[in-house]
Symmetry: C3
Subunit: 343 residues, 3 copies
């Protein structure tokens, strides 16, 4: 990024106040501003920083009027936060884009890799893999036999995709994540040992999915484990075999979903949530961090907390009483004594 | 897989009903059947699908008689589920088997690698490693100095094994799992900083163990962290230093076992279970998901739930009352008022 | 390690009792002793093993006097445990040290790598990376553009460091850990899908930090996620974007800290602890395993347990009553009946 305040203001169709020739080459939070940086002010809690920031330019809302002297150049726009995000995207897209096919990449069979797609060093591509346009396949990625990758996909370093898994368009998968490891399926034998049930399915990841780092998504025993369009998943999440996650559901870090469970659309999971196997969760349900769900939820749009979960307001009320349990017990015993003595 | 219904029936010593010339080339769940696929019917809950499935052949139990018209060829066998699993195994063993030593593999010292063993691309094998017959060492694996790997072992892409760890026969370790990282041992110093306690032991994994993806199994401070014969472990499991897991114990995803704890044989852990350090769990104990265990369990074959755990039936009963705590408190306060007024 | 009892005793300024010519080449716990091994006795619980151990040499405290016949050579020192740890360190430092730059390492731009630093096979170093003296960069590591690594740093196999992250001096990061994956930031859109908020910051890891295997530490949206000097982190830990962990805080396995939270100095986290986002935890607070913290803690040096956490003694007391909840409910209902009948 290298842009003058004037050019930036034109780009954003903003209104400039102050030195329009100052040049920007980085971005910073308003409270951590430095020369040459662009910041923004949206939440007025941060207004005091506007008068002390070292950033060269600050985006502000048109509706905002400073109440003290400002050193930075201001660019007044309709929505400062949105404008800032827009700039971030431009900036990050340009900064990170790689190209070419690294010499140390190993590609087992002759396949067509579009010119717009980057294959990083030490990446391994097994037989009969398909890769779309505009992909960024970082170093040290593994794509097993028959894997299919759509367009505009980013696979960060060390992502491992087992054979025959499918990744849709515009997906982002972070470093160390494993797609398609075997489902956890074992049949108990009469001698109390276990026999592996072969896992022959795959994982299908639809379009616009983002998956964090060091996640594990198991393939189906037969058929597919399915991550639907627009799902967002944080780090260290476990998705077991034959699970299906509905569109635009969001799952925070270290949550786990056991085998064959179907999660609806637009659900929201806090961190470290656990969902039992073979159940169904309806659309729009939300789970507080560390919740545990052991049976199906048929109603939509509930809010839940606890292990096992109960409705969140009820859970919070029970939590308050829980802290007082020793007092309650004492009071109950006193009452008991009084009443029994009277009898 | 490419086999006619007739040949398959002979292989299974089954009894064929319908077109015996149809050729199978894949497998499918009965409810997701397609032409050329083999399915099975065991649980009669799925019987309605038998009459609509598009699969070409369905395995059924000898004891079963259809109650409507079936389009698929049937093969009647003693136990349809077992026969199907047998076929799955044959199919998956053939489908995935790789061979040779990839050119981009780095092998530090001259070692004897059996012809039956596959070493994938970009795999690193340090000094003085031993590898047995019939192994599948996928790409991007790391085997540190002096690692020993038995026969019939599969290490999926990106498995990392630290120096001097030992992996027995017939083990399967999934992508991204780390064997032998340092135990978490630090001595507090007078200035409240910590000093690392060197971790010099190893990890020993006995025969027939399967470990999921992205697990972390730490080496012992001295001696060995031991995973006994037949243990099955899901993804993202943490096993700390000097832990010992007894034979044929099963551990579901995201569970963690703290340092120096000894787990008995035939135990079963749900997901996200946590076990404290320096305790002993007797054989055959079972723990519900998200349970937390802070002290030793000497009795065998208990069933536990909660954090800290209590006996499962008791835990479920307490859980029911927990939801009503605000009502209980209210009732208690009313009673208290009545009784105190009377006094 | 290859040292005579006599030389070792001189090194430790100890007092030797028994055969001073015996040669040591390994170490062992006193209860698992073997010929040629060094053991120690500090905790007198282990004293009986002294009289049966097969170790050749045992370090004991000067204050200790055997009460039976000892076969091993004794070396009497001020503090046997400390002396043993000292020897462990010497031994492990020598045993593991590697050198050189592997031919299969890919280094994108010409950078100065000190002779004292080892770069392992199949490691990838992107553009404009800086690496200090005396580092051990194991095979299959990924260092993104502009990463800075200090002196005496060990990065175990498969560590992935995203662009522009900074690792201080004397840090140790275990296999499979990801530093700098994108923070989990998404803005909800009117159609209930989500839009990625670009993550442009980095991760700064200060000096003397150790991080376990398969951890995920996300970069900041802007600015830095900061792990302060001396922090020790176990395996499978999740640190979200813009988090700051204070000096010498210790975090056990599978714990997670959500976005923008600030953790104080000298805190101690048990395993599987979860901390909510956007809160502040004061110095010296300790959290029992599986605790969940949803709001800021301003007092220092508290001890907490439960989800949501309460003060640990209170939590343990409430836990005891929790087990008796069904009895309490029954007693309350009986009382209620008696009292209401009397009315």
């Amino acid at each position: 990024m290298q842009i003058s305040a004037k050019d930036l203001s034109n780009l954003l169709q903003g209104e400039i106040v102050g030195n329009e020739n100052v040049v920007l080459h980085t971005i910073a939070k308003i409270e951590e501003g430095k020369e040459g940086a662009l910041s923004f002010l949206s939440n007025l809690k941060y207004e005091p920083h506007l008068y002390t920031t070292k950033s060269s330019v600050v985006l502000v809302n048109k509706s905002f009027t400073p109440t003290a002297k400002v050193n930075a150049t201001l660019i007044r726009v309709e929505d400062a936060y949105r404008a800032f995000t827009f700039i971030l995207e431009k900036f990050s897209a340009v900064a990170n884009k790689k190209s070419g096919i690294a010499q140390s990449a190993v590609i087992e069979t002759e396949i067509k890799i579009p010119e717009s797609t980057y294959i990083g060093a030490q990446t391994y591509i097994a037989a009969d893999v398909e890769i779309g346009e505009n992909c960024q396949i970082y170093p040290q990625v593994y794509l097993g036999d028959g894997v299919r990758v759509g367009n505009n996909v980013t696979l960060f370093p060390g992502v491992k995709v087992y054979a025959n898994c499918v990744i849709g368009n515009n997906c982002i998968i972070h470093a160390g994540t494993v797609i398609g490891s075997d489902g956890f399926g074992f049949a108990p034998l009469p001698d109390r040992s276990y026999k592996k049930i072969p896992q022959l399915g795959n994982v299908i990841i639809e379009d616009d999915v983002e998956i964090g780092s060091n996640c594990s998504i198991d393939k189906a025993t037969m058929g597919s484990t399915i991550i639907r369009k627009g799902v967002k998943m944080d780090n260290l999440v476990q998705i077991a075999h034959n699970v299906e996650i509905g569109e635009h559901t969001v799952i925070a870090g270290q949550s786990g979903i056991a085998g064959s469970t179907k999660i609806g659309r637009y659900c929201v999971f806090g961190g470290q949530v656990g969902i039992a196997g073979h159940i169904v969760i309806a659309d729009g349900n939300q789970f507080g961090a560390q919740s545990g769900v052991s049976s199906s939820i048929q109603e939509e749009n509930g809010k839940w907390f606890g292990s096992p979960v109960i409705e969140v307001r009820q859970a919070l009320k029970s939590g308050v009483v829980y802290r007082k349990l020793p007092d309650l017990e004492k009071k109950l015993n006193e009452l008991d004594k009084i009443v029994k003595e009277k009898k």
